[in-house]
Each structure stands twice: as C-alpha cells, then as structure tokens.
C-alpha cells in the first residue's frame, strides 16, 4: 500500500492525465454522466415515493371497501342471481364478530343536482359518519366535518370539497353558513376541505351530508350503500377482508364459496401493488444507472488502452530498468481507479446539486410532483464502491496489455 502515498506514483498519474487532457475530460464526463443519472433518477424515484406516502398518509392504507352484488350460486332454495343489499345490522354484526377492526364506516352515495343561486352542478353526494374523517383524512380549509350531533338530529348540513366551492360560489365568498340546494332541499354548508387525491368520488368533487340525513331524505330504510373497514395496524387486512365476506355470506344466506355475492376493494393490497411498482421503478433506475456507469467505465478502459499503446516505449524503458510487471500493472490500475473516482465524485456532487434544484423548484408545496427527492448515503456509498470495483476491473485490461508487450518490442518501437 506504500506506493499509494508515493509522490512518483501520483506524479505519473498526473503526467499521463495531463498528456491526454481532452480524452481524459471526455471519458470522465462519460462516467460522471452515468453516476449523475443514477443519483438523479434514484432521487426522483425517492421523491415520487415520498409524494405517494404523503398522499396515502391521509388515508388508512390497511382498509377495504365492501359492497353487495348478486349471488352466483343457488343456495338454500334461492336461485342464483339474487341481488343483495347490505343492512345496518350487518355493520353491527361485523363490529361484533370480526377481530382486529379499527373502524367500520357505512356510507351512501348518489348523484344529485346541486344549486346555489344561479350556479348549478351535478355532484356526488355521500352520506357519512364522523369516523370517515379518521379513515380518509379531510384537510379542512374552513369549518368542520360532520359530528355526532349532526347524525343524531338528522341535520341538513353538508361538507363540500374545494372543487365544488369553486363551481358554486363566487371568488372570495365565505361558504360557511351559506345554503346550497341538493335535490331542492336546503343544506347548510358547515365545512370545506382540500381536494384529496385518493378515495371515491368523481373529478367534479364531493359533498358529504350526515349518514342519517341521507337515510331519511333518500328513503334508504335499513339499507347501506357500502362499507369502509379499517384494521388495526397489527392485523392483516386481507384476512379481515376474507372474514368479513364470509360473515356477510352467512348473514345473507349465500353459498359460503360464492365469490361474486359481495364485492370488495382492498386498498392495502392496492397500496402494496403500487409500492411494488415503485420498487420496480427503482430497480429500473438502478439498472439504467449501472448500465450507463458500465458504459462510462468501459470508455475509461478504452482511453487507458490507447494511453498504454502510446506509452509502449516508456513502459519498455521502465521494464528494462527493472520495473516488475506488477509495478507496471498497478500503476495503470491505479490510474483507472483514480479517473473513475474523480468522475464518480463529480457525478455524485452534480447529481446532488440537481436534486437540490429539483427540490427547490418542483419539490415544494402541496401540488408538487415530488417530495424531498433524496438519495440515501448508503446508496451513494454502494454506487461509489461499485465504481471503484469496476474501475479496477476495467483497468486490468490495459494493464494486462501493458505487461504483455515484451520490453524488447517496446524499445524497438521508434
């Protein structure tokens, strides 16, 4: 290792670099570009991941939607194709029977014409319990969400989404306390929330009214539109999903293996799938980055090969003077490692710099594409080590060429 700190070792590397300035710069750019891409892509992927974590952060990811469909198997005297409806009693039964539940939130949905003075729109109307705010966090701008009092007294109140405010109200108008007409019934606006990116509802925006009000106004009886069920973090949501559906089949006298009778959408699984997609994206990033790196490192191998050819005579002289093959080899390998390391460092620094710029330009605020695009230090270390290893390996090729030239042949070259 002593040679690493030897003046002559470094003097020779610098001389070799100095004599091939242009080519050295171009090849360094090759490797730099590779690691630069790797850092920026990984950072961007991380940013997207952070962004989605933020979005899903408002939403319980261990939740499942359950709704009723129609049977696909005859059972206990009933023909197949019997249409099913969820009941209020099902909600209580689920709460009682299934272990590991956090919330069971029954919901209604309909589509209705909404009028405010001369402005109208067709929006999704939801009948909701206060618990919805816990399952699907609403970021309120004004007012409050539905509370227990609204439920108990069947109050004609509503919480609107920002989109609806924009369509039904004048700019700078304060919506709270105003009345809007839904199916010709006046509702008092008690809250407004920011658009959330996940959850049911159309792009037009949603209006939430108390569950019991909806029940009464739309004459729902003991029927329930669908349910949102969340499990405690330590329970497996897929198991809960299966248990709930089995219980429902039992309660509704449906064949136990009738998969069509009750539909469900497992948000936990969807979330896992999306995370899988992100992992895939990261893999792709690594693949592209490493491939580019390898291309860059090969370019360095190439330039060294040319340099070695040009220095054939010098190498011959050195060997005539007693340089052992290994001494010639390690010099060239060190040169390769040096070039790749410099290029790598520059690439990492410029990559980090670009990530900083991305962060300050499009990485800030609610509507940002990315959130905190960063690359972990261990990842950088892995990339750097990979680079040095590749540099060493690629340096072996020109190094081998250098020592495979016999000193006599090298000296003969004029």
């Amino acid at each position: 290792m002593k040679f690493l700190f030897d003046n002559d070792t470094w003097q020779e590397i610098f001389e070799s670099v100095r004599k091939n300035k242009m080519r050295t710069i171009i090849t360094i750019i090759g490797v730099m570009w590779g690691i630069f891409l790797l850092v920026v892509l990984l950072g961007a992927a991380k940013g997207v991941e952070n962004k989605f974590n933020n979005l899903f952060g408002n939403f319980a990811t261990n939740s499942v939607f359950v709704w009723a469909q129609s049977t696909s198997k005859p059972f206990k005297g009933f023909q197949e194709g019997k249409s099913l409806t969820l009941k209020i009693s099902d909600v209580d039964n689920i709460r009682k029977e299934i272990k590991g539940l956090e919330f069971v939130v029954p919901r209604y949905r309909t589509q209705a014409l909404v009028v405010n003075n001369f402005k109208t729109g067709n929006f999704g109307i939801f009948g909701d319990y206060p618990e919805l705010d816990k399952v699907e966090k609403k970021e309120l701008v004004y007012g409050r969400f539905i509370n227990d009092n609204d439920i108990n007294e069947n109050k004609k109140v509503c919480v609107i989404e920002e989109e609806i405010y924009k369509q039904l109200f004048d700019k700078d108008e304060y919506p709270i306390g105003q009345y809007i007409k839904i199916n010709n019934i006046n509702y008092n606006v008690i809250g407004m929330y920011k658009r959330s990116n996940v959850g049911g509802g159309g792009p037009q925006g949603n209006i939430h009214i108390p569950f019991t009000t909806f029940q009464q106004v739309y004459n729902m009886g003991d029927r329930v539109g669908w349910m949102m069920i969340t499990g405690k973090p330590e329970y497996n949501i897929s198991q809960i999903e299966a248990d709930v559906k089995l219980l429902l089949r039992n309660l509704h006298k449906v064949h136990p293996e009738d998969e069509r009778a009750f539909g469900s959408f497992n948000l936990g699984e969807a979330f896992a799938k999306f995370m899988g997609f992100l992992t895939g994206m990261q893999f792709l990033t690594w693949f592209v980055g490493i491939a580019t790196l390898i291309a860059g490192v090969f370019a360095i191998g190439n330039i060294l090969l040319i340099t070695v050819k040009e220095r054939t005579k010098e190498i011959g002289i050195r060997r005539a003077l007693g340089a052992k093959p290994w001494e010639v080899k390690r010099q060239i390998i060190l040169e390769s490692v040096f070039l790749t390391s410099v290029a790598g460092a520059l690439g990492i620094i410029s990559g980090g710099f670009i990530l900083m710029i991305i962060d300050t330009t499009i990485g800030q605020g609610e509507d940002s594409v990315l959130t905190n695009p960063t690359v972990d230090i261990p990842v950088i270390l892995i990339a750097a080590v990979t680079l040095v290893v590749l540099g060493t390996l690629i340096g072996l090729i020109p190094a081998q060429t250098a020592v495979s030239i016999k000193p006599i042949e090298a000296l003969r070259e004029e």
Binding site: E314, R318, G322, P325, W326, K406, I408
Partner: protein, 234 residues
Amino acid sequence: MIKIEKLHKSYPIGKDSLHVLKGLDLHIKEGEFVSIMGSSGSGKSTLLNIVGLLDVHDEGYYYLNGQLIENLDEKKAAILRNKFLGFIFQSFNLITYKNALENVALPLYYQGMGRKERQKIALQYLDKVGLKDRADHLPSELSGGEKQRVAVARALVTNPKVILADEPTGALDSITSHSVMELLKEINREGMTVFVITHEEDIAEETDRIVRLKDGVIISDEKTNNKNNIKVSV
C-alpha cells in the same frame, strides 16, 4: 561475468523461421571492455537483448554472474536486470516528462529506495558524468551528448555488474561520440564490465576486445592495442 555456450535464437517469420544466432560461444570476464561488431542483420542486437534479459534464447546456455539463466519469468528478469545490468540505448530512451535527476533515480525507485536517498545517489552519478548543474532539466532541454550522459548515469546508478550499450554513439556526432566513449572507458577503468554493440569501426577500436559477428556466427574475436588493455581476455 557473461558466459554463453552454443546459443541459438530464431524468430518466426510467417510460416518460416529466421535463424539469427547459430550456436554462439562467448565468454566475457569481469572488468572487460568488449565490443560486438557486425552489420545490420548480423544478430548483434539479438545477442544484446538476450544478454540483457530482454529476450529469451532457444537453445544453449547463458550464465550471468555465474547464474544459469533459464525459465525466467518477467518478474525475476526484472529483478536481475535491475540488479546486474545497466542499459544505454542509441536513442537514449529517457522518460520525456521527468527531469535528468528523476530519470537517473528511476532504477532506484524500482529497487524500493526512498525518494530522498535515491535523489542523493542520483545526483552523485550525475556529478560523475559532469551534469550536476543540469539535474533539473528535462531531456528536451539537453543536447544529444548530455542526454546520453544522463543515460550513462542512469545505467550506473544501481551499481550493476555489466553495462550494456546498444549503439551508444549512433545518434551522436563524432566529437560527442568520442566524449561518451571516453566516459565508458573511464567507467571500465574503475572495474565495470562494459559491453558495447556497434557497427562503427572507430568506436569498436576504442574498446579492448572486438568480437565480429556475421550471419549469426562469430567470425573473429581479437584484442585491440589499446594502452589500457591490462586484463587479458581468452
């Protein structure tokens, strides 16, 4: 010092092979000043390369300092070259981006000597060839004669057993040629074995013994009448 018996060497040329050295016998004792004469193609450079461990022979025996040279790998050859042999080339073969001092010190670097120590020794040898004041000049800033003196200093710096000079004056005018030869003579007087290859008659005349080579065989081997020819050759 150098003993060669029935040495053969041939080079492949396409499917044929060119038989360059055809059974040479040569014995050079310690302290001799020998020149190998021959026209181009006579095999003298091949002989020098084999003696200089830059190339390997096909058949026969080669003893360097009493040691039989066989099955040499590159590493061993490098160590032996560094220890026993000093090279002087026609085209000087100095490293262009190193100054005179660093060029002279290079063989010591490969011996693993520390920087300060090898520069000190190198400076002594530069002084010996009269170029102490040129120590920090690059080869491009030196004249041909000066370059060859630096090369001589570099050949001497490891205190080798034999100096091998391949057409040492081939690129020099007659006056500088003469001064380089005087330098070699002086080295020889100090006891160093010097082995010169040349095709110039007057250069060979300055040595103590002339071996003439033609078509791969020795055609004559005679002593010259130089006054410093004290040691008697075989």
